[in-house]
Symmetry: C2
Subunit: 368 residues, 2 copies
């Protein structure tokens, strides 16, 4: 499965701030720049997952201006100009548009793009490459492809995709027409969808040819189409993001999900088997799940030694200095210590970390 | 009530290691040397509680050799020779004997001694001095006096004292003959004792005249009597604890509670009103209770800032560096961070800290 695809162009979206992993993630140290699971950052793992699938010069990264230097540093194998700085943050649709523009200005017209978040986790990179091969083939047939994640619990934190008619089998994997996209459901609805078995999670991974993308943008996102058209006509390039800023200023904030996927008539979904081991690493709870090798385990990261008495489903994450960690009857807890902050949070409640960050921001405090 | 008592000699027992407040307390930083509630250490607060009650030169401190320099430093108002180093640790009975010996060698025979732990907390120092005045008077009548703490819950972690016949009222406070001492009870027994209303906690605070002490020791602790007698005969003094070591070697380990109080026929108890606000600061749970100004409060010590969401009965104690502390739905927890250790413990379970220290010791680890 190590066939390279010379005309596949991965577009890694790496502009996120990531307040959900506070206090580890900060404005200046976003989630994708964290090394949570090995010596590589989430962004570097995303790059590594593409090794052998495409030539390195095909990989594009879209980020905000402030993060571009850090990401270039973390990706020495990429040409520096492949790390694109957004003129202004205008959502994932505009970010994908910027990548499309970069290909146009390089004279690459017959390309297939795959949009990838920079901060997800996948346990099985080989299976990921198989899925990319399949997504490429579905996209070449003119579909707007989305990767679906086979759910293993009735999550209320993800959007769902309902699968319809079988389109065919690609690289041994079935692809379906999309019936509809559904926003984050309540628990009852999520349970019902899981029971039906024809729904998958929307992971924010999309594939399309440059031509199909352009058609979709012209049809569903006219302001973005106009901005891209004007840039091409005026010879403005992605190498000078500030020159593009006046065009971007008029763009409404728009995501790929709402702006394109929910409107297109040619959406296809490629359900990823559970063996992909996907996680969006979207909270400290997700990190505990990923780090625990056994059910109910206490996970201690960064300690010199640990004494765990009667404590289950506990995450202690030391980021400032190694310490001996002692836990006594401390079930269902998340505990993160950094140089300047300490978080203690009930397991299952770590999405509320955003509230903490919101309060700190509102108060003008420095720890965000 | 600020009458000074010129012949009252407080003996502060300050030799304890204090593993129960690990990781803050260590072998080299025992509990009494910790500044938990204000800028003074528990030992210094114990000294301060005696200001105005006795002349400073009356105050004796008994400790182990390694701690003597630290305690002398913390008590600049005391003559250095009043900090007595035990020849060997042989329990509180031998420590009291050492203080008695110090008075003998100074030619002070008509003394009343009051034995005080160095690491307790009292909210009301004025009431404490009243109690000391009363204890002095009861002791002068020939009794072996113990201070009882009026219980406010059915504690299973303290010994109890059953009060009998009223002996009289001293400084407005009643004193009773002791019916019996009872070891730490189970919960049912504790509840029954609380319901009867004639039981108080044993706080390890005792008073007696030097003469009564000597009689009791001769009667109930012959080995200690022999050691003290020999020291006097040979002219060995408390200034040279190593010279006393051969005498101490033969002593069995013995507490005042078991060695004297449970055997004497002239035990009296002076019940302290609840307003004394006594605590033995015997665990992190006790510290949370003492620091919380309102019921169910979250207490954060050492933070730069704190954001507490839906967290009750939480103690976060930062000893290494100030941090912002965020708590989310973290009820009933104790969390202590030092330079080299982190403790996370369910509230109500902090007595198990001793298990942690035991394990660390057994493994030969440095953090004890």
């Amino acid at each position: 499965m190590s066939r390279k695809i010379p005309d596949l162009y991965p577009v890694i979206l790496a502009g996120g701030g990531g307040t959900r992993l506070w206090p580890l993630s900060r404005k200046k140290r976003p989630k994708q720049a964290l090394a949570l699971f090995n010596e590589r950052t989430l962004f570097q793992n995303t790059l590594a997952r593409l090794w052998g699938l495409v030539p390195p010069e095909n990989v594009l990264v879209v980020t905000v201006e402030e993060q571009a230097p850090l990401l270039r540093e973390q990706a020495p194998g990429l040409p520096a100009e492949n790390v694109l700085a957004e003129p202004l943050p205008r959502g994932t649709a505009a970010a994908a548009g910027l990548a499309w523009l970069a290909l146009q200005e390089r004279g690459i017209h017959d390309a297939t793009l795959v949009i990838l978040p920079s901060d997800h986790y996948m346990a099985n990179p080989t299976l990921f490459q198989n899925l990319m091969q399949a997504a490429y083939q579905v996209a070449r047939q003119g579909f707007v492809v989305t990767l679906g994640i086979t759910p293993n619990y009735p999550a209320t934190g993800y959007g769902y995709i309902q699968m319809g008619e079988l389109l065919g089998t690609f690289e041994g994997m079935p692809a379906y027409r999309v019936v509809r996209f559904k926003e984050k459901p309540d628990l009852e609805t999520a349970k019902a969808m899981l029971a039906r078995g024809d729904h998958v999670w929307n992971a924010g991974i999309f594939a399309w040819t440059a031509a199909v993308f352009w058609e979709e943008v012209r049809q569903h996102l006219p302001p973005l189409a106009r901005a891209l058209q004007t840039a091409l006509e005026k010879g403005l390039t992605t190498r000078e993001p500030r020159a593009l800023r006046p065009l971007w200023e008029s763009l409404p904030e728009e995501t790929i999900d709402y702006g394109i996927m929910e409107k297109t008539r040619r959406a296809a979904v490629l359900p990823a088997p559970r063996e992909l081991g996907w996680s969006d690493v979207g909270s400290w709870d997700a990190i505990l799940d990923l780090l625990a090798r056994e059910p109910n385990q206490a996970v201690v990261v960064g300690s010199t030694d640990q004494i765990v008495l009667d404590s289950q489903n506990l995450l202690v994450y030391l980021d400032d200095r190694p310490r001996v960690v002692a836990a006594i009857d401390a079930d269902d807890l998340i505990l993160v210590v950094t140089d300047d902050a300490l978080l203690v949070c009930r397991r299952g409640k770590s999405q509320r970390v955003r509230e903490v960050v919101r309060i700190l921001k509102r108060q003008g405090k420095p720890w965000v």
